[in-house]
Symmetry: C2
Subunit: 569 residues, 2 copies
């Protein structure tokens, strides 16, 4: 039964409803007016059909609701369709007009339209459609194992032991793997990973994380009670932002994020109805962070919101810079002076390749600055099992450490995380192994160390290679990839291409990346998905493919760029 749309009927008018016996499921209208998008509407209280009523029925809104819902129903626009027999059926309850408007504002480029198109192309290839390439290469996301990186044997042995403890009797498993598994299982209810853990995380993992942080930070103390295990770092970041920001009804909170940024931040802030305060990294100085720019952004933002927090990603995503100790100190001083809660996204802490570069944790620097800062500055640091040499994204493991958080607020945080019961226990177990990895003298140490070093050296080599090849291309310029897993080169896009992009309703770098995907099968993320200075264009590309494949990839990018530039010159 085909359905035809009739009209959007004006708000607050009498609504006609009736149900045909056979009508197709409602489909949405293709577009909506900007007004409707800005001020989404609800169906009014009286807008419903009645099963007990005859097929064609005139319904008047039911008697006066409250002023609030009256105002709301005043905005209502109903989508209706007519079944073949001409009787308009029930409209959908949940439509673009009635859904939560903050969700509509969310954008997440790393898995956005270009990735959806890449998945489509893969399907087309598998169905035998001819393309100028044999496979899609997804260099859009830091997904190491998908790019062929092998998991650390020791980690997987322990996970297998924890999953199926019968294997404890298997001599093929080394003793240190078994002792780790035993320790984890003892911390599980009923000795099973199938039990819920405490909402903050399993005790033994919290302790191991705390000891890891202490070793990492040269002895700065860490209280396990300040550690919260998370479902990947994303979960922790969203949880902290949720605590920090208040909805529009009580004045808008602002959160400072770097531009370019990792789009989880903008997505979470959009969903929470908070203000995103952009501060720009300095591309000319290798994506460094200037305090004067923080100051500028903050002062502007104070005109229209209440800044609450400052987010830093170090090593940088998507920009690959590694912050100096001095810069971190300045940022901490700035946060203290300006009364901002610091969020340090440190998930790439082992991914440092640049000569003379070193990872400095915000916490260590904070404590080295003395009690004037270490007793007062509120900080949270995030880590994860997904990056570094592990690349175990699928397990969704992570932790956050909170420093100087108000005790009552911490109780609220504990309550909040209890609603989602607990982070996945296998991810917690994996996080435990990362912070309690094999030590010299243990049977698995040598192999663990070999695997770890091999992965990190390969990444360092690929970081260098990426920078080198991209910088041979006229019209591309790439800062050194000092850390993390991405290059974020700047691209020149000819004016003609910019015009053609506009004709396609696309921003120029989306147009560029879409063209690259269609012509080469390479899937990158346009810089616009991360934010960039007006008039500049970039893409993010991971350095994760195996070296030989990466070379091919980079050379294809080079060829594409030359062809593209020629075509539009």
């Amino acid at each position: 039964m085909a359905a035809t749309w009739i009209q959007k009927i004006p708000a607050r008018s009498v609504h006609l409803f009736a149900r045909g016996r056979n009508h197709a499921a409602a489909r949405s209208l293709g577009s909506q007016s900007p007004a409707a998008a800005a001020a989404p509407a609800f169906p009014g209280p009286g807008v419903h059909s009645s099963a007990a009523s005859p097929p064609s029925l005139l319904r008047v809104p039911s008697p006066s609701p409250s002023p609030t819902s009256r105002a709301v129903s005043g905005l209502a626009k109903e989508r209706m369709m007519m079944s073949e027999n001409g009787a308009p059926p029930r409209a959908k309850v949940l439509t673009m007009d009635t859904m939560n408007p903050t969700v509509k504002k969310v954008e997440y480029a790393v898995r956005g339209p270009i990735v959806q198109r890449a998945v489509q192309i893969e399907k087309e290839l598998s169905e035998g459609v001819k393309k100028p390439f044999a496979e899609v290469i997804k260099a859009n996301i830091g997904d190491a194992h998908a790019m062929g990186q092998q998991p650390i044997t020791f980690f997987r042995q322990v996970l297998a032991l924890c999953s199926y403890p019968e294997l404890m009797n298997d001599n093929a498993f080394p003793e240190d793997a078994k002792s780790r598994a035993r320790r984890i299982l003892q911390s599980c209810g009923g000795s099973s990973m199938g039990s819920y853990s405490a909402s903050q995380g399993m005790d033994c993992v919290l302790q191991d994380v705390a000891r890891y942080i202490e070793r990492r930070d040269g002895g700065v103390p860490c209280d396990p009670d300040n550690v919260f295990l998370t479902t990947g770092a994303s979960d922790g970041i969203v949880t902290m932002l949720k605590l920090l920001v208040c909805g529009e009804d009580v004045g808008r909170s602002g959160v400072m994020i770097s531009i370019p940024q990792y789009p989880l931040y903008s997505a979470a802030l959009a969903e929470l109805g908070a203000v995103q305060i952009n501060y720009y990294l300095n591309e000319e100085k290798n994506w460094s962070l200037d305090i004067s720019e923080l100051q500028r952004a903050l002062e502007e933002a104070r005109q229209y919101c209440t800044p609450r927090a400052l987010c830093i990603i170090n090593p940088g995503n998507p920009t690959g810079q590694v912050q100096s100790r001095e810069c971190i100190e300045e940022v901490i001083r700035f946060a203290a002076e300006e009364r901002l809660f610091l969020l340090a996204d440190e998930v790439y802490q082992d991914n440092v390749y640049g000569e003379g570069c070193q990872f400095h944790s915000f916490k260590k620097v904070l404590f080295e600055m003395g009690p004037e800062y270490s007793d007062t500055v509120e900080l949270v640091s995030f880590h994860s099992t997904s990056k570094c040499y592990m690349g175990e994204c699928g397990f969704r493991g992570g932790y956050m450490e909170i420093i100087n958080m108000d005790a009552e607020v911490k109780a609220q945080l504990t309550k909040l995380v209890s609603v989602r019961l607990c982070p996945p226990v296998p991810g917690q177990a994996l996080m435990d192994l990362v912070v309690n990895s094999p030590q010299p003298g243990e049977p698995s140490y040598s192999n663990f160390n070999k695997e770890r070093t091999a992965t990190l050296s390969a990444l360092a080599e690929k970081a260098k290679l990426t920078e080198q090849i991209l910088n041979t291309v006229p019209g591309l310029s790439c800062n050194p990839v000092q850390g993390a897993m991405y290059s974020f080169p700047r691209i020149s896009i000819p004016d003609k291409a910019i015009q053609e992009a506009a004709a396609h309703g696309q921003v120029p770098d989306m147009f560029y990346c879409m063209r690259m995907l269609e012509e080469t099968g390479i899937c990158l993320v346009p810089g616009s998905g991360f934010g960039q200075k007006d008039g500049t264009y970039h893409f993010r590309m991971t350095i994760l493919p195996p070296k030989d494949k990466l070379k091919v990839l980079l050379n294809k990018v080079k060829e594409f760029h030359q062809k593209f530039t020629q075509q539009y010159s």
Copy 2:
């Protein structure tokens, strides 16, 4: 260095700030005024200290910000403390006054204060503190493995194989376990569970879920594209509520939930700023759902909000009833007439014990009602790996199926779930095994079936036992536990006890359960955590402990209740 609080300084006054060289980390004040709780405050834009300034510094708020932030700073109450040298240091950025007010409103009884106290008592016991009991028994949460239920061998074998594929060469693993593992790994990027999956879930799992639903529902078709894998059912429920409700700024959305309810619903609605519309289950008629009560609740709610959705938990949590087919049909008709989106929480679909009871999925009933309903009523159904015979809570596996969702809204849902990247892959793998379990003829079938049946029969037996023993206690009355994993008996609390509870600032059933915990070590959840009719009291208790232990537990509850009643008579 000790710190002493000085005062809460009045809003919009001049703020004094200075930094001593050594002051203790700020601690929170014990309480706050109701006004501050209702209208939380921000620090005003000028309220910050400066590192460049001398130790004692008078600061006046900086020049006029926007009207919004001015109004906000007008509410500000600063918490300050003074260091020993008398110089007040920086106040905290994030306090009870400045934090997100919606988070403060969240409550989650299943892991609330009584469980926190239980954890404390466990610690005390382990430190040798003498108690009138030797262990804490947590009957507060449906955590099967923690209560000794064994995982299904086949599931864990496959998970071990997926974690450590070296085991594919191990002859101890049956061939069907290996073929399941191979299929799952083929669906993973780089054949590793460490890769991100598609945000909606791994293809092969979506397909298997769809086939499972079709088998379950007697052939009603299921499109894998309508299935979304989730991080436990909770994640799916929160995601759907997020789509459905709109914040206070655009008029308040209402969602109907049963009372008693599972407190995830109230917690999620509080956080989203939506209105919780209570409809009461009929305890006298075995917690049945009366349409007239739905109608009453809806009509009342329409006075002050826009009802959008109706949530049903079947089999019931915490109430253990199983809905009849007729009742489900009536609910669907009601939702259609009243234009409500239906959320069916069906995570206990295999936990049905009551004589003559049967699980009917909302989807099957909907499709049996004919296209008038099946083409239009918007429905989402949730399932999980955590309950039924699996009890694999720690893996956080789950799925939801959406029916008749507007295509554009579905695209928004897909976008929204992409922000959290993907549900944990081990949980996805486990969900796959649940919906694609060993079949007759396969090597693992007989053992799988034996384990599954044993668990479900034991639960059925324990459901009966619970009802029987509790009903022998004067002052306790327990409806039949027809399904799910909980009894929810009504308890008589003597007036004197109600008065003493009030003197302790506790609701009567919290007082009762706390007393039980302190005296017997049994941890239950007070009925007030789920909601109940005014003047009635209940507790929720799982039926999960092993039979012998459950008997002891029930008899302890009986003894406690008798003693408690005597004491306060």
